[in-house]
Amino acid sequence: MITSRKFLDIFAWIVLIVALFAFLFPIWWTITTSFKNPRDITTWPPPYIPFLDFEPTLSAWKSIFGGPGQIGTGGHSGSLIFRTVTNSLIIGVSSTALAITIGSLAAYSLARFKFKRWKNDDIAFWILSNKFFPPVAMVLPFFVIFKTLNMLDTLQAVILVHTAMNLPFVVWMMREFFLELPREVEESAMIDGCSVFGVLRRVVLPLAAPSLATVAVFCFIFSWNELLFALFLTFSKAQTLPMLIAGETHTGSPLWWLISAVSTVAIIPPILLTTLVQKYIIKGLTWGAVKG
């Protein structure tokens, strides 16, 4: 019995290591490729380890940031990556802030007050169902609407759309959180003469801050990664980082080392944020269906 348990433990470790390798190798590959010389990319067998298999170079990084890299031709101009990263940051932060504000107010009222005409649960599920609409069914109307409003290729258009995209998630997650929050604290504050907004600001908000932060991190990542809406609504001025990468791959022969560097820039925030909210990651990913 003991030996079979030990065997299972070893087996579990082997599976874990194989899984880790399989799931992390592509990330390793992208990051190392951004430090390769063009000639090191198409060699066989593929070089894996810097210094050992190939001589790392900063030229790709220099050229995406506008420096005089040796492979400057066809590369990005420095302002382009700064602009797309700034756009993505502005869009991510603003749409997250909007979605969190509107969404948590709605979530709070769904968790606390009873509505006359519809059941609260029905409203919540209706809001949730918004998440299931395929984006492609919304993107063409958005395109026409924003074109009419003369708002194509503006950050505001993308912010509005990304907010709509993230709202169901915020409402759903924050409602679950508010439902778990004991009412007594709020009620005693009410008795002490606090208004609804006073209770919200002084009692609920401090308690909700960690959950709000976690939900916000997820919203930001969703917005940061989004391509389809950005593709329809922007073309140059308001271009986002995913669009820059996507656009690059359609050129005749892709400049792998450059795209690797840009991809690395794109995947750094999600990786950092993921480790930041690691405790709540399961809860967030599963829409609160499972508490991890």
């Binding site: 299972l8 299931f132 609409f133 395929p134 919304m138 063409l140 391509l227 791959t249």
Partner: protein, 282 residues
């Protein structure tokens, strides 16, 4: 009152676009024919859709994609969860590391896999050469392109499935297991008659969330194969995007999008009603 901004937002940027989308699908709009080239054509676009071979092909691709990714990710994720559901030193850190693929920018992932699956210098073929498999044309052969997209999606989302099911497993009551083991149940019996039924609600939600996302597949295909070669890996979303942007016919693009919408909502409603029933029972 606090709910109002949210409801208004949804009406303006959720429901209205959908209705508008249906309206657009009843129009003939060709951007190439100059501005204002638009007229009402009734259901003509829909009749065209039913005769459109390419639409049915992309629909088939989408369904093959959804069913195989959700199925395979579920099986792999459950397997990993069952094996790794034990005390392991440092296991927590590894679990966090494992989830990273699901959080990464899909276009960056797609691009990474274009390198990894490259037939002449990609590491994938290099690894396969160790076991004597000759170079495979992953993304640029019609027979394998969709399969390769499925492979990429499995890489991205199996960790999610794994963590989801693992958390579910760890939430299961321990006493029913002990009772079964005392009664002399085999490992398979325990799994089949205790673990699976108890885990069922979690499984449903996990598969639903994945399926909904899988129906929308776009980013990965857009940067890896762009639907090709031919239309061998084109999804419905890809097709609608191509019709609307490359061929500039907004009306017909909307028709395709509306059809996808109807299908996703049907699938979603069936699933959600199940979940709701279970929540009410619980």
């Amino acid at each position: 009152m606090l709910l109002a901004p949210c409801i208004i937002y949804f009406l303006a940027l959720g429901i209205f676009p959908l209705i508008y989308n249906v309206y657009l699908s009843l129009q003939w709009i060709e951007q190439t024919a100059g501005p204002g080239a638009q007229r009402f054509v009734g259901l003509e676009n829909y009749f065209k859709l039913f005769r459109d071979v390419r639409f049915w092909a992309t629909l088939k691709n989408t369904f093959v994609f959804v069913i195989s990714t959700v199925g395979l990710e579920f099986v792999l994720g459950l397997g990993l969860a069952l094996i790794l559901n034990r005390e392991m030193k440092g296991g927590k850190i590894f679990r966090v590391l494992l989830v990273i693929p699901s959080m990464l920018t899909p276009v960056a992932v797609g691009y990474t896999f274009r390198m990894i699956l490259n037939p002449t210098w990609g590491p994938m073929n290099h690894f396969l050469s160790f076991v004597g498999i000759p170079p495979v044309h992953w993304l640029d052969s019609p027979a394998l392109s969709l399969f390769s997209i499925i492979l990429i999606d499995i890489w991205e989302w199996t960790p999610f499935m794994f963590l989801f099911l693992l958390a579910g497993l760890q939430g299961l009551p321990k006493d029913s297991y002990e009772a079964a083991i005392i009664d002399g149940a085999s490992a398979w019996q325990v799994f089949r008659y205790i673990t699976l039924p108890l885990l069922y609600p979690v499984i449903i939600v996990a598969c639903l969330l994945r399926a909904i996302d899988a129906f929308k597949i776009f980013d990965t295909i857009y940067v890896t194969t762009a639907g090709g070669p031919g239309i061998s890996s084109e999804s419905v979303t890809m097709y609608a995007q191509a019709v609307a942007m490359r061929y500039m016919s907004l009306g017909y693009g909307s028709t395709i999008a509306t059809m996808l919408f109807i299908m996703v909502v049907t699938v979603g409603v069936i699933f959600i009603n199940r979940v709701r029933k279970q929540r009410e029972v619980a």
